[in-house]
Symmetry: C2
Subunit: 541 residues, 2 copies
C-alpha cells in the first residue's frame, strides 16, 4: 500500500458481520422496545444504561461455549489494561450491582436495552452486533421473583402483539436437573468438581433437544453422535442406565402427558405398539389441549409433574428443593391467573449457559412459519433466562441471589413481521415538488403548513431541473402524495394534489373507464391544501 | 499477578472515562430524543442506525484537532484489518451514502441517534462515550437544505422545552470566511495548499472566541498567546493589517449593531470614548433587542449584515458567493417566519471542524446558569452543523453535497435540567409490603390489580423478615405509596394504604394538630385498593 501513487480511496463497506438498519427497520424495533419498556416500568423495574465498553476482567468469561478468556469479545489494550465491548447485558449488571452495592436499593430491579457485541464468525442472519432487552431482579432469593419475571415476560410478549396461544413459557429448575445428575451418579454433592466435564456435555446436549430430537440427545448422553456431515461429537459417556435417568427427566412433559392419556383411555402405555409414530399421533389428540385450561386441571398438572420429578430425584436434597421451588412457582402462577397455555412447567428446558443455579425459563412461539426451504416449522425460542446466584459473588465474595430474562430482540421482531404485527410503516412524507426554483419559499411554506398540522412533509431539495426525478424520488420514498404548483397554478392560486397510492393502483389494475371516475390528481385552492391532503391520507388508512 | 495464590477478584469498576446511567437519567434522555425524532420524522427524515463498529479506513481522520490517524478512536486489529468504534455519526453516514448510493433516494435525508466513542483523556464531565443526535440531507446542493436544517433545529429545541427567546441559532458561511482569508492574503484560490496551516490556526482561534474574547483571538491571529498558566500557543503570524481584516469579519455582528446604534443616536462611533466598557453598556441598550422582531427590521438587518460582508470580501469570488448564499438563507427564513430572535446571520460562528465547505450554524442557549464557581454565565452552545460537500467524495471520487446538524445530547439535557424541564420523574412504584410470607400470592394479586390499571407497582421481593427494611426500600425507590396487610387486616378484608409523600411532608413540617387532620395512612377495603391508590397518586400530581 505504501507504494501506491496518489490517494487510495477507502472502501465504503460495513465491516464483516455488521449491518446497517434503515427507516422502518429502526422505528419498528424502537416501537417494540418502547412497549416492552412500558411493561417493565409498570412492573417497577428501573432503567439502567451502562456503556458499551467494560474492562475485560469485569466481563469475565461467561460467554456461552467459550473457554478461553477474551475469546468471543472485541478487546483492545490500553496502558496495560484490557478493555472490551460487552457481549451481553448481564455481565455489566453484575458489575454495577457490585460497584454500587451500598447505594442501590435491595432488591435492585433494572431493565436494560441496547446493543451487545460478539466477536464470532459471521454467518447468514448472524451478526456481530445485535440488541438485547433484559430485566433482572438482583438481591431477591425468593422464587416469587422468578415467578414475576415469567409473568412479566408473558405480559411483554402480549404487549408487543404476540397473541395468547401463540406463545408458551416453559419453566424448569436447574436444581432438579442437579438432583437427577446426583441420582445418575454424575454429581457428588461432597465434591462438585467431580464429573464437571460430563455434566457440561449433558447440559449442552439437553439444550439441543429441539434440534437433535430425543435420539440425538440420547446419543450425546452416551458415547457420542455422528452428524449428517459425518462429524463426530464426543458424548458424556453415560451408561444406558444413567442416560435413561436423564432422558426420563428431559422427556418428563411428554411422558407424563402420554401417561395421563393412557390412564384416561385405559390403555397400556408400555405395549409394543407404543412407538414414536403412535406417540406423535396421540400427542395431537385434543385431550392434550385441555391441560391447564381451567384452574382444576392446571393444579392437577402441576401436581402430577412435580410428583413425577420428585420420584425421579429420589432422595437428592438439591433435587427435592428444586421440586419444592417448582411447586411454589406453579402455585403462584396459578393464583395470578397465568394458566398452562401461557406458562408451563417443562423439564425439557435447561438453557445452555453454565451460570444458572435455580429456576430457568424459555419463551417459545408456537405458531408455524415457513423456513428457508419452504418447510413449515414452529417459530421457536425468543427469550429466556433464569436464576444465577453467583455472578455478583465474583466481585464481592458474597453470594447475591439474582434472576432475570433476556429477550432476543431480532428474533422477536422477525416473529412480529411474520405475523404482520410490525407497527412502523414505511410510508414516506408528502413531497412538495419544485417547478420553479425562484419560488422555493412558496413550496417550503406549503410544507410548513402541512407539518404544522402534524403531517409528515418535505420540499424536494434535489436538483429540480428534471421533474421526472422528483416523482421518482417520491416513489422511492414511498410517498403517499405529491404536490405540484407551476407558474400557471401559482398565478391562479391553486395547487395540484396527486394521490400516488391511488395512482399506482390505477396504473396497475384499473381500466380506462375506472380511471376517469377516480381522479388520482385534483386541483384545489392553495388554502385548501392541508385539508385536501389530510382527506387523501385518510383514504389509505 | 501470576504469583497470587487463590482466585483474584475482579474490580467492579466502570472503565476510566465511562459512566453508568440510572433510572430517570435514562428515561429523561429517551423522552427528549423521542421528541426530537418526532420533529425529524415530520420533516421527512428517515431513521438510520449503523453499528458502533466501522473499519478504520472508512472512518478516516476527520476527528477534530487530531492529526494522526487512529488517534482519538478506540481501535483494534482483526486479521490484518483495523476496526474502530465510531467517533461521530457523520463519518458512518458518509460511508452509508457511498455504499448504498444506487439504492438510496437522492437526496437522502436521515436522522441518527446513538452513542459515539472518543479515546480522549477523561476529565470532569467529559466522557469517552456519549450520545449524538444528528440529521443530515445528502445530495442537495441548494441552500434551501441548509435553511431547512436551521428551521428544524429551532423546532426541535422548542419541542423538547427550550422556550422561544431562550435560544438563538447563528448562521455563517465558510465561503465568506474564505473570501476574507483571500482578501487578507492567506488564501490563494490558484493554490489552495498554500497557507493551509495558517488558515487552520485562524479557524481554531475564531472558534475559541467565546472562551478567549476578542483580544485573545487577536493575539492568536498574530504572534501567539500566553494563557493564565503561562503556556504559550503559537499564533497564525498575521500582520496587524491582515489580523484587522479577519477581526472585522469575526466581530461583524457586534460592530454592525453598534454602527446602527451610533447612526440612530447621531453618535460618532469612532470617538475615543468608544472603549470596551462603553460597548458593553451600549449593547445592553433595548434598541438592540429590536432587530429582527418584525419582518421589516429583519429584512433590514439581513441586508445590512450582507452588505457589510460583501464590502469585506471585496472582489473574492468565493466570498461573494458565500454572501449570496447568506442572503438567500436569510430571505427564506424570513419568509418562513423564523425571525432573528430565533435564527440570525452572525459571522462570529465558524465551527472548528475542518470539513465544512459552506453554511455553518450553531445553536446557543441564551439564558443564564450558575457555573461551578457560582458565577452567572450564558449556557452556551448545544448544537451545530453545516455543509460538508467532500465527505462522500473520499469514497467515490464524486463530490456529493451534504448538510446537517448534530445536537449535543448531554448538553441539551443539562440545559433542560437547569430549566426544570426534564420530563421523566424519578418516582418509584407503589410497594406492596410482605407481612406474611405465606400469603405471597395475595400480595402479588394486589400488585397485579394495580398494574392492570396502569399503576406502576411491585411486591417487596427482598427478605421480608425486617419490616423496617421494606419501608427503607420504598423510601430508596422514592415510592409514593406503601400497601400493608398483616394477618389481622387480611382477616377483616382490609388493607392499609400509606401515603409516603404526605408522610414525609408531615414528618418534616407539620405540627401535631395538622397531622391529626391529614392522615397519611388509611385503612380501606381490599376491593377499594386500586381506587384509593389512584386517588392518592392524584394528590401529588
Amino acid at each position: 500500500m505504501a507504494k501506491n501513487k496518489g490517494p487510495r480511496r477507502p472502501k465504503a463497506e460495513t465491516p464483516k458481520g455488521f449491518r446497517d438498519y434503515f427507516g422502518a427497520e429502526v422505528t419498528a424495533r424502537k416501537a417494540m422496545l418502547d412497549k416492552i419498556a412500558a411493561v417493565y416500568h409498570r412492573y417497577g423495574f428501573d432503567a439502567l444504561e451502562t456503556s458499551g465498553v467494560e474492562t475485560v476482567e469485569a466481563l469475565g468469561k461467561f460467554l456461552p461455549d467459550v473457554d478461553r478468556p477474551n475469546e468471543g469479545v472485541f478487546a483492545w489494550e490500553e496502558d496495560g489494561d484490557w478493555l472490551a465491548l460487552r457481549y451481553d447485558l448481564t455481565a455489566p449488571l453484575a458489575r454495577v450491582a457490585a460497584q454500587y452495592r451500598n447505594d442501590l436499593p435491595t432488591p435492585y430491579r433494572r431493565y436494560a436495552m441496547g446493543p451487545v457485541w460478539r466477536n464470532e464468525k459471521p454467518g447468514p442472519g448472524r451478526f456481530r452486533q445485535f440488541y438485547q432487552c433484559d430485566a433482572d431482579t438482583v438481591g431477591a432469593a425468593s422464587v416469587a421473583a422468578d415467578t414475576e419475571i415469567c409473568a412479566m415476560l408473558a405480559d411483554a410478549l402480549e404487549a408487543v402483539g404476540i397473541a395468547r396461544g401463540d406463545y408458551v413459557i416453559r419453566v424448569n429448575n436447574r436444581k432438579v436437573l442437579n438432583g437427577v445428575m446426583e441420582v445418575a451418579g454424575i454429581l457428588d454433592p461432597a465434591d462438585p468438581s467431580k464429573f464437571e466435564a460430563e455434566r457440561g456435555i449433558v447440559l449442552r446436549a439437553i439444550d439441543k433437544l429441539d434440534r437433535l430430537g430425543v435420539e440425538g440427545v440420547r446419543a450425546l448422553l452416551g458415547q457420542g453422535r455422528k452428524d449428517e456431515s459425518g462429524d463426530f461429537t464426543k458424548g458424556a459417556g453415560l451408561s444406558d442406565e444413567q442416560a435413561a435417568i436423564v432422558s426420563k427427566f428431559v422427556n418428563a412433559n411428554e411422558e407424563l402427558r402420554l401417561e395421563m392419556w393412557a390412564e384416561r383411555n385405559e390403555y397400556d402405555k408400555f405395549s409394543p405398539e407404543w412407538d414414536t409414530r403412535i406417540r406423535a399421533a396421540l400427542l395431537s389428540d385434543p385431550f392434550f389441549n385441555d391441560f391447564g385450561k381451567d384452574k382444576a386441571s392446571l393444579e392437577f398438572w402441576n401436581n402430577r409433574i412435580c410428583n413425577y420429578l420428585e420420584e425421579l430425584v429420589d432422595k437428592s436434597d438439591i433435587g427435592l428443593e428444586g421440586v419444592r421451588e417448582l411447586r411454589e412457582i406453579g402455585a403462584l402462577l396459578d393464583d395470578l391467573g397465568y394458566d398452562a397455555k401461557r406458562i408451563i412447567i417443562d423439564p425439557s428446558v435447561v438453557r445452555g449457559l453454565g451460570y444458572y443455579t435455580g429456576p430457568v425459563f424459555e419463551a417459545e412461539l408456537t405458531f408455524e412459519i415457513t423456513d428457508e426451504k419452504g418447510r413449515p416449522r414452529q417459530f421457536g425460542s425468543v427469550a429466556g433466562g433464569g436464576r444465577y446466584d453467583d455472578l455478583v459473588k465474583r466481585f464481592t465474595g458474597q453470594a447475591v441471589p439474582a434472576t432475570g430474562v433476556s429477550i432476543g430482540v431480532d428474533r422477536l421482531l422477525a416473529a412480529l413481521a411474520a405475523k404482520g404485527r410490525l407497527e412502523a410503516s414505511a410510508q414516506g412524507p408528502v413531497v412538495v415538488t419544485v417547478m420553479d426554483r425562484e419560488r422555493m419559499s412558496d413550496y417550503m411554506g406549503m410544507v410548513q403548513d402541512l407539518r404544522a398540522e402534524g403531517i409528515r412533509a418535505e420540499t424536494y431539495l434535489g436538483n429540480p431541473k428534471n421533474f421526472g426525478n422528483q416523482l421518482k424520488y417520491a416513489d422511492k420514498r414511498q410517498s403517499p402524495i405529491a404536490i405540484i404548483q407551476g407558474e400557471d397554478e401559482a398565478a391562479r392560486g391553486v395547487v395540484q394534489v396527486k394521490d400516488l397510492i391511488l395512482g399506482a393502483k390505477i396504473a396497475a389494475e384499473a381500466t380506462v373507464e375506472e380511471w376517469k371516475s377516480q381522479p388520482a390528481q385534483v386541483e384545489v385552492r392553495r388554502e385548501d391544501l392541508v385539508v385536501t391532503v389530510r382527506e387523501m391520507l385518510g383514504r389509505h388508512r
